[in-house]
């Protein structure tokens, strides 16, 4: 496993930013310290993982840390995928935006902001994307009911 390209690149950059690495169901997941995610994305991009595919959040309520962000990054050259994970605490969850690295993360981060209430520092246009601007609450959080009246 340590000979994997993405792990090698991240270890060469900053071994302390990588807090966990797992290989399950044929997929590599690397957990990155929350404040380092933008740099980590730039590092894996330079290592050949050049295509930002997907990004979303998972709410592990009531566990702590509550939020998990999963970034899926594909390498068009090596044809393999790496998943970067970031764990965030419940209070005022905020993380650096990766839009300076991949412009295409814009809508994905707006969606997570809209539905989970996670802020992205440095995002160029952080507004609600799916819901009306005056919507109260963050529907994809686990403490938000699936059905009912307001």
């Amino acid at each position: 496993m340590p000979e994997h390209r993405a792990i090698k690149a991240i270890l060469a950059w900053n071994g302390e930013a990588l807090t966990d690495a797992q290989f399950a169901f044929g997929e590599l997941s690397l957990t990155i310290a929350a404040e380092k995610i933008r740099e980590a994305c730039a590092v894996v991009q330079a290592a050949g993982y050049d295509f930002f595919e997907d990004m979303t959040a998972i709410d592990w309520f009531p566990n702590s840390p509550r939020f998990q962000l999963s970034y899926h990054i594909l390498s068009l050259k090596f044809l393999e995928r790496v998943r970067l994970r970031v764990m965030l605490e419940e209070d005022e969850p905020s993380v650096d935006s990766i839009t300076p690295v991949w412009t295409g993360a814009n809508f994905f981060e707006r969606e997570v902001f809209d539905l989970f209430g996670i802020r992205f520092a440095g995002h160029p246009d952080l507004r609600r994307i799916m819901l009306p601007e005056d919507w109260k609450g963050y529907p994809m959080r686990k403490d938000y009911p699936v059905e009912g009246y307001r």
């Binding site: 169901f25 295509f51 979303t56 068009l76 412009t103 295409g104 809508f107 507004r127 994307i129 699936v146």
Partner: protein, 407 residues
């Protein structure tokens, strides 16, 4: 945002103060026939030149991802084809593949081949709608009638196989819903036999048509670097010169057994995207032909009695089958905890299902990555500096479905 309850809902830029009096802000949509659904575009124009463009989405948001969390794994399948309703079987396939990887299920070969066969038909369906509506947006109304004639035939095939014309839900976790009807392969063969001629027919109507050519050639340019930066996938990415197709490069569901070409172009304009999709339709026809020729025999469901519903016959005669049926329907089946991301190549580009399981019978989180959502971000780059009339051509050529953007 929720902190500002009194904030205005429409946050239009104040063109007068920002850019001087020459500029005008034009609101296109959400109810506009050329936006293929409910897409709203806030366009700032200088005369007829587009200065900036901002897509506003969410008018079709139904919270399908949230709904998925409240359903059993097998109950999510019918939700998926309502997302991209033009390519329903690709949705089913992507979801089923993801859950099957979590479960570690082996899918019988016949089921895999039928999946490929029907997914390619579904891709043809998607491309036919694209071609018809794209040409109609530009003013070639006739093509729409031609493509919908063939699409109708595909929908009849779907009806024969799944009982539903659009919302098929035919692929299930562990295989297919049932063995397809006896005459299905003959009917698909007849369709495939005549279909290449029909593509020639569309091509005759459009490829040499000077109006169509002038509208598409040189408009909506997207460079390969921009396409990658924005996360554009599928035909628009290949038309910009990036040669990637997950069916060939990261094969799933037995695609490695099929021979087909992946068309690319380096031009990157609307015309290149048109040509790439036309060739793609011909290649899909070849894949369908190979699937028909080499269709293996055997079961269409995996041998996993606790996950796959038993046949009716077995359920009525064997006690265990009846118990399994009862347990699956009432309690669902537990899926091992974990996280998978399964991507496939659908008609519009790369579709991805990200499923997180916590070990229970309901998915903890289902996230869908749909190609149009990412592709829409590139719209401003493609239209900036161009004429406002070309905007309609560009929207048509990137082939968006609002159902999959808003989910």
């Amino acid at each position: 945002m929720s902190e500002r309850p009194g904030a205005p809902v429409l946050d239009l830029p104040d063109a007068e103060s920002v850019r001087g009096e020459r500029h005008m802000v034009l609101n296109m949509g959400p109810q506009h026939p050329a936006t293929h659904g409910v897409l709203r575009l806030v366009v700032e124009i200088d005369g007829e030149i587009i200065v900036s463009l901002r897509p506003e989405v969410g008018y079709l948001h139904t919270g399908i991802e949230k709904t998925c969390e409240a359903k059993f794994y097998q109950q999510v399948v019918p939700l998926t084809d309502r997302i991209n309703y033009l390519d329903p079987l690709s949705n089913n396939l992507c979801y089923c593949l993801a859950v099957e990887r979590l479960l570690g299920l082996e899918i019988p070969e016949r089921a895999q081949w039928i999946r490929v066969l029907l997914t390619e038909l579904s891709r043809l369906n998607s491309h036919l709608i694209w071609l018809g509506t794209h040409a109609m947006d530009i003013g070639a109304l006739t093509v729409f009638l031609y493509t919908f004639r063939e699409r109708e035939e595909i929908l009849r095939l779907f009806e024969a196989v799944a009982g539903q014309r659009m919302m098929t839900s035919y692929f299930r976790i562990g295989g297919l819903a049932m063995e397809p009807p006896l005459d299905l392969f003959d009917r698909i063969q007849a369709f495939i036999h005549m279909f290449p001629e029909k593509i020639d027919e569309y091509s005759n109507l459009l490829t040499g048509n000077p109006i169509f050519m002038n509208r598409l050639k040189g408009t909506g340019y997207l460079s390969a670097a921009d396409a990658i930066a924005f996360g554009v996938t599928g035909p628009p990415l290949r038309a910009s010169g990036v040669d990637i197709d997950l069916r060939r490069d990261m094969p799933y569901s037995g695609y490695e057994k099929f021979q087909f070409k992946v068309p690319t172009s380096t031009v990157g304009d609307n015309w290149a995207r048109y040509e790439v999709r036309l060739v793609e339709m011909r290649e899909s026809t070849k894949i369908i032909q190979q699937a028909l020729d080499g269709m293996p025999g055997g079961p269409v469901k995996a041998d996993a009695p606790k996950i796959v519903l038993p046949d009716r016959e077995k359920m009525k005669t064997q006690m265990e089958a009846l118990i399994h049926h009862f347990k699956i329907v009432t309690e669902g089946f537990n899926v091992p905890a974990g996280e998978v991301y399964q991507a496939i190549e659908c008609g519009h580009g790369q579709m991805g299902y990200h499923i997180v399981s916590d070990g229970t019978a309901k998915p903890y989180r289902v996230h869908m990555r749909y190609p149009s959502f990412a592709t829409l971000q590139a719209l401003e780059t493609m239209c900036k500096g161009g004429l406002i009339a070309d905007l309609v051509a560009v929207i048509g050529s990137i082939d968006i479905v609002l159902g999959e953007i808003d989910r």
